[in-house]
Amino acid sequence: MLILNCPYCGVDAEETELAAGGEAHLKRYGPGSSDDEFHDYLFMRENPKGVHFERWRHANGCGKWFHAARATDTLEVFGTYSAQTTEPPQEIREAITAKRPGWTWREFE
């Protein structure tokens, strides 16, 4: 079972306590954007076999949204971090690099 540490309440929450919220750090497009931008924003998702960044909610707990860095091919969790950021923090990136040198995800590496 997947266990994620909620960065707000500090609980190691099991999968049943959590609600998956999909890809993290989406850039939102508003009025005036092109069809392609809207299409990608609405339907295109990163689908990596490897390092992935996601939004999760501690639904049956403190109720807060947070971010998680995971590997989709091993279910390994690299770390969780605040929802109040537009990109993965440095310590999370370093934690991933320690185990997966050379990883990339969207524009991050």
Partner: protein, 414 residues
Amino acid sequence: MKHYSAFAVAREALRYHTGWERAWRSPEPKKKYDVIIVGAGGHGLATAYYLGKNYGIQNVAVIEKGWLGGGNTGRNTTIIRSNYLQDPSAALYEKARSLYEDLSQDLNYNIMFSPRGVIMLAQTQHEIRGYQRTAHANALQGVKTEWITPERVKELVPIINLDGPRYPVLGGLWQERGGTARHDAVAWGYARACSAMGMDIIQQCEVTGVRQENGRVVGVDTTKGAIDCDKLGIVVAGHSGQLAEMAGFRLPLEAVALQALVSEPIKPCMDVVVMANTVHGYMSQSDKGEMVIGGGTDAYNNFTQRGSFHHIEETVRALVETFPMISRLKMLRQWGGIVDMTGDRSPILSKTPLGGCFINAGWGTGGFKAIPGSGWGMAQLMATGHSPLTEAFTMDRFKEGRFIDESVAAGVAH
């Protein structure tokens, strides 16, 4: 290829079964093929088969990373039905279901198609309205389904408990000619027929790159070397995104785990397929007597081909209420497959931005039932550039707002 028949069984019985030959050859790849299909699952093999049978294109290779039929083709719960809401889906799935009817004769391979009937239970008021709507839609589409009462459900499924406190059975959508087939046999039958036409099925051969010149595909790089081709079909389910990346485009897909389990074998107790979409569970009894149970998908991206235990618990807990007798069953095996989900829960059968490259993906949780129709349409698309079966399922439908929205129509279990 030696013809399978009752006479052949008798002949071999007299010589201690020493005369059977391998069902398909395992050749080394040639330098060049007219068409390469990546993925020797049901959909890939069916595509190759109908390319040869309907269009005479027999210089074909089917390349497989693992072993033939070892992905979702060998992991699903073998349900066949075509009671979909939207016209393009109903046309495609009904084509598949009707091809299943005499596929054993067509392939000369017993795929054990069993049109035992499929019930989708209505357990909420919302589902009653939804399934009645689907029954009306099916009548217009020429797909034979009917809305049945709880009493009729009980007649068809004596082991069911209609009066569950949380999930009472309020009726059902009944498709009499739905049912099951032996999933492995579908892949094996197509593989044998393809091999007999001279096609090469190359297993243990992973595609590592898609070679292109001037915007057209010219071949693939594999772990067994480079192979040239004029046309390429990508039919790889969970790994469609990885193949698309090699070919230089993106797909609106996410891969998640879907799991299933089987019980110990018991005496015959249920001779129809029952799906309960409100509680994310469905069940049928295999010819061996095992109760075959499927559940919902995990909610997050996953490539590990195993599911999470709490989903099994949820599925079984709900089914135990509707089928109290299964509470005494021991479960034998549990497994997972990686399904590729689109935003509207309908597949993608499409040309791609790369010339000569075609994609067949996004079957999500319901690909097995569609294998013959998918192969039929995909072969037509690849051979002629257009197929009425697949024309609604292009990959640009999201941008154009032409969703084939079955995520509402089918509840969840597809």
